[in-house]
Symmetry: C2
Protein backbone atom coordinates (compact mmCIF):
# COMPACT_ATOMS: atom_id res chain seq x y z
CA UNK A 1 0.00 0.00 0.00
CA UNK A 2 1.38 3.33 -1.11
CA UNK A 3 0.01 6.72 -0.12
CA UNK A 4 -0.60 8.60 -3.34
CA UNK A 5 -1.62 12.24 -3.74
CA UNK A 6 -3.05 13.43 -7.05
CA UNK A 7 -2.54 17.16 -7.43
CA UNK A 8 -5.17 18.61 -9.75
CA UNK A 9 -7.03 15.40 -9.12
CA UNK A 10 -10.54 16.79 -9.56
CA UNK A 11 -10.36 16.62 -13.36
CA UNK A 12 -11.47 13.48 -15.21
CA UNK A 13 -7.92 12.13 -15.73
CA UNK A 14 -6.99 12.66 -12.10
CA UNK A 15 -10.23 11.15 -10.81
CA UNK A 16 -9.84 8.19 -13.14
CA UNK A 17 -6.32 7.47 -11.90
CA UNK A 18 -7.48 7.96 -8.31
CA UNK A 19 -10.14 5.32 -8.84
CA UNK A 20 -7.80 2.81 -10.50
CA UNK A 21 -4.98 3.31 -8.00
CA UNK A 22 -7.41 2.88 -5.10
CA UNK A 23 -8.79 -0.26 -6.79
CA UNK A 24 -5.19 -1.53 -6.86
CA UNK A 25 -5.12 -1.23 -3.07
CA UNK A 26 -3.45 2.14 -2.60
CA UNK A 27 -4.52 4.96 -0.32
CA UNK A 28 -5.32 7.93 -2.54
CA UNK A 29 -5.79 11.60 -1.67
CA UNK A 30 -7.24 13.86 -4.34
CA UNK A 31 -5.65 17.28 -4.11
CA UNK A 32 -7.13 20.58 -5.23
CA UNK A 33 -6.60 24.25 -4.48
CA UNK A 34 -10.09 24.02 -2.99
CA UNK A 35 -10.43 21.43 -0.21
CA UNK A 36 -14.20 21.33 -0.69
CA UNK A 37 -13.93 20.42 -4.37
CA UNK A 38 -11.34 17.76 -3.55
CA UNK A 39 -13.63 16.16 -0.96
CA UNK A 40 -16.52 16.31 -3.41
CA UNK A 41 -14.49 14.55 -6.12
CA UNK A 42 -13.47 11.84 -3.65
CA UNK A 43 -16.99 11.18 -2.44
CA UNK A 44 -18.21 11.26 -6.05
CA UNK A 45 -15.84 8.42 -6.89
CA UNK A 46 -16.85 6.41 -3.85
CA UNK A 47 -20.55 6.92 -4.30
CA UNK A 48 -21.12 6.76 -8.04
CA UNK A 49 -23.17 3.84 -9.29
CA UNK A 50 -21.39 1.46 -11.63
CA UNK A 51 -23.02 -0.89 -14.10
CA UNK A 52 -21.00 -4.04 -13.49
CA UNK A 53 -18.95 -5.89 -10.91
CA UNK A 54 -15.65 -4.36 -9.92
CA UNK A 55 -12.53 -6.35 -10.80
CA UNK A 56 -11.47 -8.73 -8.06
CA UNK A 57 -14.92 -8.50 -6.56
CA UNK A 58 -14.16 -5.44 -4.51
CA UNK A 59 -16.82 -2.84 -3.86
CA UNK A 60 -16.09 0.85 -4.09
CA UNK A 61 -17.02 1.15 -0.42
CA UNK A 62 -13.71 -0.56 0.37
CA UNK A 63 -11.64 2.01 -1.49
CA UNK A 64 -9.44 4.53 0.32
CA UNK A 65 -10.04 7.82 -1.49
CA UNK A 66 -10.17 11.15 0.26
CA UNK A 67 -9.79 14.79 -0.70
CA UNK A 68 -7.65 17.64 0.65
CA UNK A 69 -6.14 20.98 -0.26
CA UNK A 70 -3.00 20.39 -2.40
CA UNK A 71 -0.30 21.12 0.21
CA UNK A 72 -2.07 19.01 2.79
CA UNK A 73 -2.69 16.24 0.22
CA UNK A 74 0.99 15.90 -0.65
CA UNK A 75 2.34 16.27 2.89
CA UNK A 76 1.88 12.60 3.80
CA UNK A 77 2.22 11.12 0.33
CA UNK A 78 4.82 8.61 -0.78
CA UNK A 79 4.10 9.47 -4.42
CA UNK A 80 2.56 12.59 -5.93
CA UNK A 81 0.94 12.58 -9.36
CA UNK A 82 0.67 15.93 -11.13
CA UNK A 83 -2.59 15.84 -13.07
CA UNK A 84 -3.00 19.53 -13.85
CA UNK A 85 -3.55 20.95 -17.34
CA UNK A 86 -0.26 21.92 -18.99
CA UNK A 87 -0.78 25.63 -18.40
CA UNK A 88 -1.13 24.93 -14.70
CA UNK A 89 2.03 22.83 -14.43
CA UNK A 90 4.54 25.63 -13.83
CA UNK A 91 2.56 27.60 -11.22
CA UNK A 92 1.49 24.42 -9.44
CA UNK A 93 5.01 22.97 -9.31
CA UNK A 94 6.47 26.29 -8.18
CA UNK A 95 3.90 26.72 -5.41
CA UNK A 96 4.39 23.14 -4.15
CA UNK A 97 8.16 22.97 -4.58
CA UNK A 98 9.00 22.76 -0.89
CA UNK A 99 6.17 20.37 -0.10
CA UNK A 100 7.32 18.08 -2.91
CA UNK A 101 11.01 18.06 -1.93
CA UNK A 102 12.28 14.53 -1.38
CA UNK A 103 9.19 12.90 -2.87
CA UNK A 104 8.59 10.90 -6.03
CA UNK A 105 6.62 13.16 -8.38
CA UNK A 106 4.99 11.74 -11.52
CA UNK A 107 3.88 14.08 -14.31
CA UNK A 108 0.89 12.74 -16.23
CA UNK A 109 0.65 15.97 -18.22
CA UNK A 110 0.26 15.89 -22.01
CA UNK A 111 0.77 19.38 -23.47
CA UNK A 112 -1.93 19.39 -26.15
CA UNK A 113 -4.63 21.73 -27.38
CA UNK A 114 -7.53 21.62 -29.80
CA UNK A 115 -7.00 23.76 -32.90
CA UNK A 116 -8.89 23.61 -36.20
CA UNK A 117 -10.80 20.54 -35.14
CA UNK A 118 -7.66 18.52 -34.38
CA UNK A 119 -5.76 17.78 -31.20
CA UNK A 120 -2.33 19.28 -31.52
CA UNK A 121 0.81 18.81 -29.43
CA UNK A 122 2.21 22.03 -28.01
CA UNK A 123 5.87 22.80 -28.35
CA UNK A 124 7.55 22.81 -24.92
CA UNK A 125 10.85 24.71 -24.70
CA UNK A 126 12.15 22.30 -22.02
CA UNK A 127 11.35 19.37 -24.36
CA UNK A 128 8.35 17.92 -22.54
CA UNK A 129 6.11 18.36 -19.52
CA UNK A 130 8.22 15.68 -17.82
CA UNK A 131 11.44 17.63 -18.32
CA UNK A 132 9.77 20.89 -17.28
CA UNK A 133 8.62 19.18 -14.07
CA UNK A 134 12.15 17.93 -13.42
CA UNK A 135 13.58 21.42 -13.97
CA UNK A 136 11.00 23.01 -11.66
CA UNK A 137 11.45 20.45 -8.87
CA UNK A 138 15.19 19.87 -8.44
CA UNK A 139 14.73 18.41 -4.96
CA UNK A 140 12.18 15.81 -6.06
CA UNK A 141 12.63 12.56 -7.95
CA UNK A 142 10.61 13.05 -11.16
CA UNK A 143 9.04 10.54 -13.54
CA UNK A 144 6.48 10.92 -16.34
CA UNK A 145 3.81 8.33 -17.15
CA UNK A 146 0.08 7.67 -17.73
CA UNK A 147 -0.19 10.47 -20.31
CA UNK A 148 -1.95 8.28 -22.88
CA UNK A 149 -4.67 6.83 -20.71
CA UNK A 150 -8.23 7.75 -21.52
CA UNK A 151 -10.07 9.38 -18.63
CA UNK A 152 -13.26 7.72 -19.81
CA UNK A 153 -11.71 4.26 -19.66
CA UNK A 154 -10.16 4.94 -16.27
CA UNK A 155 -13.48 6.06 -14.83
CA UNK A 156 -15.40 3.00 -16.06
CA UNK A 157 -14.49 0.81 -13.11
CA UNK A 158 -16.08 -2.29 -14.64
CA UNK A 159 -14.05 -1.88 -17.84
CA UNK A 160 -10.68 -3.68 -17.87
CA UNK A 161 -7.82 -1.45 -18.93
CA UNK A 162 -5.43 -2.52 -21.67
CA UNK A 163 -2.23 -1.35 -23.25
CA UNK A 164 1.20 -0.16 -22.25
CA UNK A 165 2.22 2.62 -19.88
CA UNK A 166 5.52 4.06 -21.09
CA UNK A 167 7.41 5.33 -18.06
CA UNK A 168 10.31 7.78 -18.30
CA UNK A 169 12.60 9.14 -15.59
CA UNK A 170 16.22 10.16 -15.36
CA UNK A 171 16.35 8.61 -11.88
CA UNK A 172 16.35 4.82 -12.04
CA UNK A 173 14.49 4.35 -8.75
CA UNK A 174 11.83 6.86 -9.79
CA UNK A 175 11.29 4.91 -13.01
CA UNK A 176 11.06 1.55 -11.20
CA UNK A 177 8.64 2.81 -8.56
CA UNK A 178 6.40 4.42 -11.16
CA UNK A 179 6.44 1.26 -13.25
CA UNK A 180 5.32 -0.69 -10.17
CA UNK A 181 2.35 1.67 -9.77
CA UNK A 182 1.29 1.00 -13.36
CA UNK A 183 1.81 -2.75 -13.10
CA UNK A 184 -0.44 -2.85 -10.03
CA UNK A 185 -3.39 -1.99 -12.28
CA UNK A 186 -4.70 -5.24 -13.76
CA UNK A 187 -3.96 -5.84 -17.48
CA UNK A 188 -1.65 -2.85 -17.89
CA UNK A 189 1.98 -3.33 -18.76
CA UNK A 190 4.61 -0.81 -17.71
CA UNK A 191 7.34 -0.20 -20.27
CA UNK A 192 10.72 1.24 -19.27
CA UNK A 193 10.98 4.11 -21.76
CA UNK A 194 14.28 5.47 -20.50
CA UNK A 195 15.13 9.05 -19.57
CA UNK A 196 12.73 12.00 -19.44
CA UNK A 197 13.97 13.14 -22.86
CA UNK A 198 11.71 10.37 -24.24
CA UNK A 199 8.66 11.74 -22.45
CA UNK A 200 8.06 14.16 -25.32
CA UNK A 201 7.18 11.30 -27.68
CA UNK A 202 4.87 9.70 -25.16
CA UNK A 203 3.14 13.00 -24.42
CA UNK A 204 2.71 13.83 -28.12
CA UNK A 205 1.27 10.41 -28.79
CA UNK A 206 -1.73 11.60 -26.81
CA UNK A 207 -2.58 14.00 -29.63
CA UNK A 208 -2.42 11.19 -32.18
CA UNK A 209 -4.57 8.86 -30.06
CA UNK A 210 -7.24 11.53 -29.54
CA UNK A 211 -7.29 12.24 -33.29
CA UNK A 212 -7.52 8.51 -34.06
CA UNK A 213 -10.43 8.29 -31.61
CA UNK A 214 -12.28 11.01 -33.50
CA UNK A 215 -11.64 9.39 -36.88
CA UNK A 216 -12.59 5.88 -35.79
CA UNK A 217 -15.15 6.78 -33.09
CA UNK A 218 -13.05 4.61 -30.80
CA UNK A 219 -11.07 4.70 -27.58
CA UNK A 220 -7.59 3.77 -28.59
CA UNK A 221 -4.53 3.01 -26.58
CA UNK A 222 -1.06 1.84 -27.47
CA UNK A 223 0.95 -1.35 -27.30
CA UNK A 224 4.59 -1.74 -28.14
CA UNK A 225 5.12 -5.05 -29.93
CA UNK A 226 8.44 -6.84 -29.80
CA UNK A 227 9.37 -5.81 -26.23
CA UNK B 1 -0.15 -5.29 -59.41
CA UNK B 2 1.02 -1.74 -58.92
CA UNK B 3 4.20 -0.26 -60.35
CA UNK B 4 6.06 1.27 -57.42
CA UNK B 5 9.20 3.39 -57.57
CA UNK B 6 11.25 3.89 -54.41
CA UNK B 7 13.30 7.07 -54.63
CA UNK B 8 16.37 6.81 -52.44
CA UNK B 9 15.68 3.10 -52.45
CA UNK B 10 19.29 1.96 -52.04
CA UNK B 11 19.28 2.58 -48.27
CA UNK B 12 18.19 -0.21 -45.90
CA UNK B 13 14.67 1.15 -45.37
CA UNK B 14 14.09 1.57 -49.10
CA UNK B 15 15.49 -1.84 -49.93
CA UNK B 16 13.43 -3.43 -47.19
CA UNK B 17 10.21 -1.91 -48.50
CA UNK B 18 11.19 -2.85 -52.07
CA UNK B 19 11.54 -6.46 -50.97
CA UNK B 20 8.24 -6.56 -49.06
CA UNK B 21 6.25 -4.77 -51.76
CA UNK B 22 7.66 -7.12 -54.41
CA UNK B 23 6.80 -10.08 -52.19
CA UNK B 24 3.24 -8.70 -52.11
CA UNK B 25 3.15 -9.02 -55.89
CA UNK B 26 4.03 -5.51 -56.97
CA UNK B 27 6.53 -4.45 -59.61
CA UNK B 28 9.18 -2.39 -57.85
CA UNK B 29 11.85 -0.09 -59.26
CA UNK B 30 14.57 1.08 -56.90
CA UNK B 31 15.55 4.64 -57.77
CA UNK B 32 18.87 6.33 -57.08
CA UNK B 33 20.78 9.30 -58.43
CA UNK B 34 23.22 6.63 -59.66
CA UNK B 35 21.65 4.04 -61.97
CA UNK B 36 24.47 1.60 -61.27
CA UNK B 37 23.91 1.69 -57.51
CA UNK B 38 20.16 1.24 -58.07
CA UNK B 39 20.74 -1.85 -60.22
CA UNK B 40 23.17 -3.22 -57.66
CA UNK B 41 20.65 -2.78 -54.83
CA UNK B 42 17.99 -4.54 -56.91
CA UNK B 43 20.18 -7.50 -57.78
CA UNK B 44 21.38 -7.66 -54.18
CA UNK B 45 17.77 -8.11 -53.03
CA UNK B 46 17.06 -10.75 -55.64
CA UNK B 47 20.27 -12.68 -55.11
CA UNK B 48 20.82 -12.57 -51.36
CA UNK B 49 20.59 -15.87 -49.53
CA UNK B 50 17.85 -16.12 -46.97
CA UNK B 51 17.69 -18.51 -44.03
CA UNK B 52 14.10 -19.68 -44.22
CA UNK B 53 11.21 -20.21 -46.59
CA UNK B 54 9.58 -17.11 -48.02
CA UNK B 55 5.97 -16.48 -47.00
CA UNK B 56 3.47 -17.98 -49.41
CA UNK B 57 6.16 -20.29 -50.75
CA UNK B 58 7.41 -17.83 -53.29
CA UNK B 59 11.10 -17.68 -54.17
CA UNK B 60 12.91 -14.40 -54.60
CA UNK B 61 13.58 -15.36 -58.22
CA UNK B 62 9.91 -14.64 -58.89
CA UNK B 63 10.12 -11.06 -57.59
CA UNK B 64 9.96 -8.05 -59.89
CA UNK B 65 12.63 -5.68 -58.59
CA UNK B 66 14.79 -3.56 -60.86
CA UNK B 67 16.90 -0.43 -60.49
CA UNK B 68 17.04 2.86 -62.40
CA UNK B 69 18.09 6.48 -62.10
CA UNK B 70 15.43 8.39 -60.10
CA UNK B 71 13.68 10.26 -62.94
CA UNK B 72 13.53 7.14 -65.04
CA UNK B 73 12.38 5.08 -62.05
CA UNK B 74 9.40 7.32 -61.35
CA UNK B 75 8.39 7.92 -64.97
CA UNK B 76 6.33 4.72 -65.25
CA UNK B 77 5.32 4.38 -61.62
CA UNK B 78 1.78 4.35 -60.26
CA UNK B 79 3.10 5.11 -56.79
CA UNK B 80 6.38 6.70 -55.70
CA UNK B 81 7.80 6.19 -52.22
CA UNK B 82 10.26 8.79 -50.98
CA UNK B 83 12.81 6.93 -48.87
CA UNK B 84 15.54 9.54 -48.67
CA UNK B 85 17.09 10.81 -45.42
CA UNK B 86 15.31 13.91 -44.13
CA UNK B 87 18.08 16.27 -45.25
CA UNK B 88 17.66 14.93 -48.80
CA UNK B 89 13.89 15.35 -48.90
CA UNK B 90 13.73 18.97 -50.06
CA UNK B 91 16.37 18.76 -52.85
CA UNK B 92 15.02 15.41 -54.04
CA UNK B 93 11.40 16.56 -54.13
CA UNK B 94 12.37 19.81 -55.86
CA UNK B 95 14.43 18.05 -58.52
CA UNK B 96 11.67 15.49 -59.22
CA UNK B 97 8.72 17.86 -58.97
CA UNK B 98 7.73 17.65 -62.62
CA UNK B 99 8.30 13.92 -62.87
CA UNK B 100 6.11 13.41 -59.81
CA UNK B 101 3.23 15.59 -60.99
CA UNK B 102 -0.06 13.69 -61.06
CA UNK B 103 1.32 10.72 -59.13
CA UNK B 104 0.69 9.33 -55.68
CA UNK B 105 3.79 10.12 -53.61
CA UNK B 106 4.29 8.53 -50.19
CA UNK B 107 6.81 9.99 -47.74
CA UNK B 108 8.34 7.37 -45.47
CA UNK B 109 10.74 9.94 -44.02
CA UNK B 110 11.20 10.21 -40.24
CA UNK B 111 13.13 13.39 -39.36
CA UNK B 112 15.36 12.08 -36.57
CA UNK B 113 19.01 12.28 -35.57
CA UNK B 114 21.28 10.70 -32.99
CA UNK B 115 22.43 13.12 -30.29
CA UNK B 116 24.00 12.30 -26.92
CA UNK B 117 23.38 8.61 -27.39
CA UNK B 118 19.65 9.04 -27.98
CA UNK B 119 17.55 9.20 -31.11
CA UNK B 120 15.91 12.60 -31.23
CA UNK B 121 13.08 13.94 -33.41
CA UNK B 122 14.03 17.01 -35.40
CA UNK B 123 11.76 20.02 -35.41
CA UNK B 124 10.27 20.55 -38.88
CA UNK B 125 8.97 24.08 -39.58
CA UNK B 126 6.26 22.67 -41.90
CA UNK B 127 5.12 20.34 -39.09
CA UNK B 128 6.36 17.04 -40.50
CA UNK B 129 8.18 15.45 -43.41
CA UNK B 130 4.76 14.54 -44.80
CA UNK B 131 3.57 18.14 -44.79
CA UNK B 132 6.88 19.35 -46.23
CA UNK B 133 6.48 16.83 -49.07
CA UNK B 134 2.95 18.06 -49.70
CA UNK B 135 4.13 21.67 -49.79
CA UNK B 136 6.99 20.84 -52.19
CA UNK B 137 4.83 18.77 -54.55
CA UNK B 138 1.58 20.69 -55.10
CA UNK B 139 0.79 18.74 -58.28
CA UNK B 140 1.12 15.31 -56.63
CA UNK B 141 -1.21 13.47 -54.28
CA UNK B 142 0.84 13.06 -51.08
CA UNK B 143 0.56 10.54 -48.25
CA UNK B 144 2.91 9.61 -45.39
CA UNK B 145 3.33 6.08 -44.05
CA UNK B 146 5.77 3.28 -43.15
CA UNK B 147 7.95 5.61 -41.02
CA UNK B 148 8.01 3.25 -38.05
CA UNK B 149 9.03 0.06 -39.81
CA UNK B 150 12.40 -1.42 -38.94
CA UNK B 151 14.69 -1.84 -41.95
CA UNK B 152 16.12 -4.94 -40.33
CA UNK B 153 12.71 -6.57 -40.02
CA UNK B 154 11.75 -5.58 -43.56
CA UNK B 155 14.92 -7.12 -44.98
CA UNK B 156 14.50 -10.44 -43.18
CA UNK B 157 12.19 -11.97 -45.77
CA UNK B 158 11.52 -15.06 -43.68
CA UNK B 159 10.44 -12.94 -40.72
CA UNK B 160 6.71 -12.12 -40.60
CA UNK B 161 6.01 -8.43 -40.06
CA UNK B 162 3.67 -7.27 -37.33
CA UNK B 163 2.08 -4.08 -36.14
CA UNK B 164 0.17 -1.15 -37.53
CA UNK B 165 1.02 1.21 -40.36
CA UNK B 166 -0.49 4.61 -39.59
CA UNK B 167 -1.29 6.29 -42.88
CA UNK B 168 -1.91 10.03 -43.19
CA UNK B 169 -2.94 12.11 -46.21
CA UNK B 170 -5.06 15.17 -46.80
CA UNK B 171 -6.36 13.55 -50.00
CA UNK B 172 -8.81 10.73 -49.23
CA UNK B 173 -7.87 8.66 -52.31
CA UNK B 174 -4.16 8.99 -51.53
CA UNK B 175 -4.80 7.69 -48.03
CA UNK B 176 -6.92 4.76 -49.23
CA UNK B 177 -4.42 3.70 -51.91
CA UNK B 178 -1.51 3.88 -49.47
CA UNK B 179 -3.47 1.87 -46.92
CA UNK B 180 -4.05 -0.79 -49.57
CA UNK B 181 -0.28 -1.02 -50.17
CA UNK B 182 0.31 -1.61 -46.46
CA UNK B 183 -2.52 -4.13 -46.16
CA UNK B 184 -1.04 -6.15 -49.05
CA UNK B 185 1.89 -7.05 -46.80
CA UNK B 186 0.87 -10.09 -44.74
CA UNK B 187 0.16 -9.49 -41.02
CA UNK B 188 0.34 -5.69 -41.22
CA UNK B 189 -2.69 -3.56 -40.51
CA UNK B 190 -3.14 -0.16 -42.10
CA UNK B 191 -4.69 2.47 -39.82
CA UNK B 192 -6.39 5.55 -41.22
CA UNK B 193 -4.59 8.26 -39.24
CA UNK B 194 -6.30 11.22 -40.89
CA UNK B 195 -4.69 14.29 -42.42
CA UNK B 196 -0.98 14.94 -42.87
CA UNK B 197 -0.99 17.12 -39.75
CA UNK B 198 -0.97 13.82 -37.83
CA UNK B 199 2.15 12.60 -39.64
CA UNK B 200 4.33 14.46 -37.15
CA UNK B 201 3.28 12.15 -34.32
CA UNK B 202 3.87 9.04 -36.41
CA UNK B 203 7.27 10.29 -37.56
CA UNK B 204 8.34 11.22 -34.03
CA UNK B 205 7.27 7.84 -32.74
CA UNK B 206 10.21 6.48 -34.71
CA UNK B 207 12.59 8.16 -32.26
CA UNK B 208 10.80 6.57 -29.30
CA UNK B 209 10.82 3.12 -30.91
CA UNK B 210 14.55 3.31 -31.68
CA UNK B 211 15.26 4.40 -28.10
CA UNK B 212 13.08 1.58 -26.73
CA UNK B 213 15.01 -0.85 -28.93
CA UNK B 214 18.27 0.29 -27.39
CA UNK B 215 16.94 0.03 -23.84
CA UNK B 216 15.33 -3.38 -24.31
CA UNK B 217 17.70 -4.80 -26.96
CA UNK B 218 14.59 -5.41 -29.01
CA UNK B 219 12.95 -4.58 -32.31
CA UNK B 220 9.75 -2.86 -31.38
CA UNK B 221 6.81 -1.77 -33.43
CA UNK B 222 3.47 -0.29 -32.56
CA UNK B 223 -0.13 -1.42 -32.34
CA UNK B 224 -3.12 0.79 -31.67
CA UNK B 225 -5.54 -1.09 -29.41
CA UNK B 226 -9.25 -0.32 -29.44
CA UNK B 227 -9.49 0.52 -33.16
Amino acid sequence: MTRIAIVGGTGPEGRGLALRLAMAGHEVVIGSRDAGRAAEAASGLLGSPHPGPLPEGEGKEGLAISGAENVRAVSDADVVLLAVPFEGLRPTAESLREALAGRLVVSIVAPVEFADGQMRALSVPEGSAGELTRDLLPESRVAAAFQNMSARDLLRAEHPLEGDVAVTADDESARRETMALAEAMPSLRAVDAGPLSNSRYVEELTALLVNLNRIHKAHSTIRFLGL
